[in-house]
């Protein structure tokens, strides 16, 4: 049974894993790039080792170096988190070769499911419906793809075989634009996963992205923890997730859960994994892909089931039986996650970098924040723009939305622009409140320019702008007398005396 885990990741997910280990009495080893010296995962881990310069290819993707560090530090297991090396079959194999427990599925399952093209073929064989697309496995050339595209039909999606998280994904509406888009998709896939392979998939319109969390132990027990609705996306990046889905009823949940368990069993799956489906308006569902790793949005499932998924991952990797049977899993209440990205929603969601000078986290009942940043930390252009996940729980979906609203309103991050206003606008939108959205909602029907809903505070905004401008003019004119500030201590003493005389 392992006692020291190397966490081969950074940001909020590295922190999440370190926390789980600490709560289980397991020691942790962090790895970091030069710009992450003061990152939270380095501060929280028991040990920390430098990987190299900031770019992922020179740090978090250096499998050999990470294995060396595991050896030096005496770590006996590796948790890959998500992204980076999490879905690299070769990395899982190398861990096994080095006698390190890889906290995730077997290399063979990653091979079967991690490569999105192969996965489609595998589940098709098991009789599970897939979205039409390239059924060929592996290394297709641009030429091949351009040939097969018209038979799938437009619009279609180019997707990274090694991928996930919307990276290396492009929408194609005609053959003409396809060569350029193939090039950029491959480029992004290469940069993100070290693998430029892509495949094609039909774009299903009006669909929802619904995924099933599964857990499988080495004794052959496989259970599912219900679904997550991840349809609120922008450029195929998930932005908001909720569990349960307002679109899924008990019957559909149970059918999808069964198929998910079946898919996992088809590849002899072990540990945590997620089966992603597209569900069309008529509640037909199609296998999209399996993520053979911990998912960004796993906390909403934790909130409604009470299962600590990372702790279960470790338990499974230790060879023990799942703590729960399928019958013991029930969905309690409703949970929503908003991904807080360093992106400016008022400027085309451009990433924003800089030092966080101040932050105020929303807290209180039913609120959880998973974050890897803090005041003083610098957001660099090298990694994901995800800086925190704001997760709420409510007895009902309506309560969860109201709680999310108040949490978003409380949240302050100064120093970088964030997409918090996007989430606020979404939580106020009638269609979101009504649960009426699909994967195209953000791009096709959503606008940051709110219509007049009676709560326009432009007069207050004008007063604020004027007062700040006025203050600036006064300051630059240096007419603020010095020493007038910071007299508070003296004031107190004076008052204290008045009070007691």
């Amino acid at each position: 049974m392992f006692k020291k885990v190397l966490v081969a990741n950074r940001g909020e997910i590295a922190v999440r894993i370190i926390r789980a280990c600490r709560e289980l009495g397991i020691e942790t080893v962090a790895v970091y790039s030069e710009v992450d010296r003061q990152a939270l995962h380095v501060r929280y881990a028991d040990e920390a080792y430098l990987l190299g310069p900031a770019p992922s290819s020179e740090s978090y993707l250096r499998a050999e170096k990470i294995l060396d560090i595991a050896k030096i530090s005496g770590a006996d297991a590796i948790h890959p988190g998500y992204g980076f090396l999490a879905e690299r079959e070769d990395f899982a194999s190398k861990c096994a070769d080095a006698n390190l427990v890889f906290i995730g599925p077997k290399a063979s399952s990653i091979a079967a499911m991690g490569d999105k093209g192969k996965a489609r073929a595998t589940v098709l064989k098991a009789g599970i419906p897939v979205v039409p697309g390239t059924e060929d496995v592996g290394n297709m050339t641009d030429e091949d793809l351009l040939k097969v595209a018209p038979t799938i039909g437009f619009p279609l999606l180019i997707k990274a075989t090694a991928g996930g998280g919307g990276k290396g994904m492009r929408e194609v509406t005609s053959l003409d634009e396809m060569p350029t888009l193939l090039a950029s998709a491959r480029r992004e896939a290469q940069a993100s996963f070290g693998d430029g392979n892509v495949y094609l998939e039909k774009l299903v319109s009006g669909a929802r992205h619904i995924e099933i969390q599964i857990l499988a132990d080495t004794q052959g027990n496989v259970i599912h923890l219900g679904e997550r609705d991840c349809s609120i996306q922008r450029r195929h990046q998930k932005l908001i997730e909720e569990s349960p889905s307002s679109f899924v009823d008990e019957e559909l949940r149970s059918r999808m859960g069964d198929v998910a368990v079946k898919s996992a069993k088809a590849v002899d799956y072990v540990n945590a994994g997620t089966i992603e489906f597209l569900v069309d308006k008529d509640k037909h569902f199609y296998f999209l892909e399996m993520n053979t790793r911990l998912q960004v949005e796993h906390p909403i499932t934790e909130m409604v089931t009470g299962v600590d998924i990372v702790a279960e991952q470790i338990r499974i990797a230790r060879g023990r039986q799942l703590s729960y049977t399928q019958e013991q899993i029930s969905i309690n209440g409703h949970s929503i996650e908003c991904r807080i990205n360093a992106e400016d929603p008022y400027n085309n969601f451009l990433p924003s970098t800089g030092r966080i000078t101040h932050s105020l986290l929303p807290t209180g009942p039913g609120v959880r924040v998973d974050s890897g940043v803090y005041p003083g930390f610098e957001i660099t252009p090298f990694y994901d723009p995800l800086i925190a996940k704001l997760i709420v729980w409510g007895e009902t979906r309506a309560q969860a939305i109201l709680r999310m609203r108040r949490a978003l309103e409380e949240y302050r991050i100064v120093g970088v622009r964030t997409n918090i206003p996007f989430h606020q606008t979404m939580m106020d939108s009638h269609r979101f409140m009504g649960g009426q959205y699909d994967t195209r909602f953000v791009e096709e029907r959503f606008s940051m320019n709110r219509s007049e809903d009676g709560s326009n505070d432009s007069e207050i905004a004008a007063i604020l702008a004027t007062l700040v401008a006025h203050q600036q003019i006064e300051r630059s004119a240096q007419i603020v007398r010095r020493g007038e500030r910071d007299v508070s201590n003296w004031k107190w003493v004076g008052r204290w005396e008045r009070m007691h005389r």
Partner: protein, 165 residues
């Protein structure tokens, strides 16, 4: 001091009377206004109501993020107003637009050439940052005047990339 503050074509006459009072639309209002923790986050109490907003300067205007909404305000004081009136209108409309890098990154491709006419919303170049390719668009119609960077070059934040006339 008297100011004219404009938000989306709506103008407000705001006079800062003293530290605790302003006059807005001829109404004298008591205000309690403080920066929180020395940050560009401001707490405003006005007529009992409590507001808090981020207020930041951006290109000769102020951006106010209040209750999940962004307002862009132009604040000019009386003197400026008079100068502007004397100088004639339309001045702000002309001039060049400099496209600046919103973050450090790598230029993936430049999609326009010098002398080329562009329309509002047209993608000018693609900048990679945070593992994402970001399209930088033209804010208005015009002609590409100078392209200062090339594909594959890395750029710093706020570096001028090209100019639209």
């Amino acid at each position: 001091m008297k100011y004219i503050t404009t938000i989306e074509e709506k103008s407000f006459n705001v006079e800062v009377v003293d530290e605790d009072h302003i006059r807005i639309s001829d109404r004298l209002v008591k205000v309690d206004f403080e920066s929180v923790s020395g940050q560009p986050v401001y707490s405003l109490l006005v007529e009992g109501n409590s507001y808090e907003a981020y207020v930041q300067e951006a290109d000769d205007a102020w951006q106010i993020l209040l209750k999940g909404r962004l307002y862009t305000a132009v604040v000019i004081d009386e003197r400026e107003q008079r100068l502007k009136a004397a100088g004639g209108a339309g001045l702000a409309e002309s001039g060049e637009f400099n496209l600046k890098a919103p973050m450090p990154g790598l230029v993936i491709s430049v999609l326009v050439k010098e002398g080329e006419p562009v329309v509002k919303g047209q993608v000018l170049l693609i900048l990679e940052s945070m593992k994402m390719q970001n399209e930088l668009k033209s804010p208005r119609d015009g002609i590409v005047n100078r392209v200062r960077i090339r594909s594959k070059e890395s750029v710093e934040q706020k570096q001028t990339l090209l100019t639209i006339l």
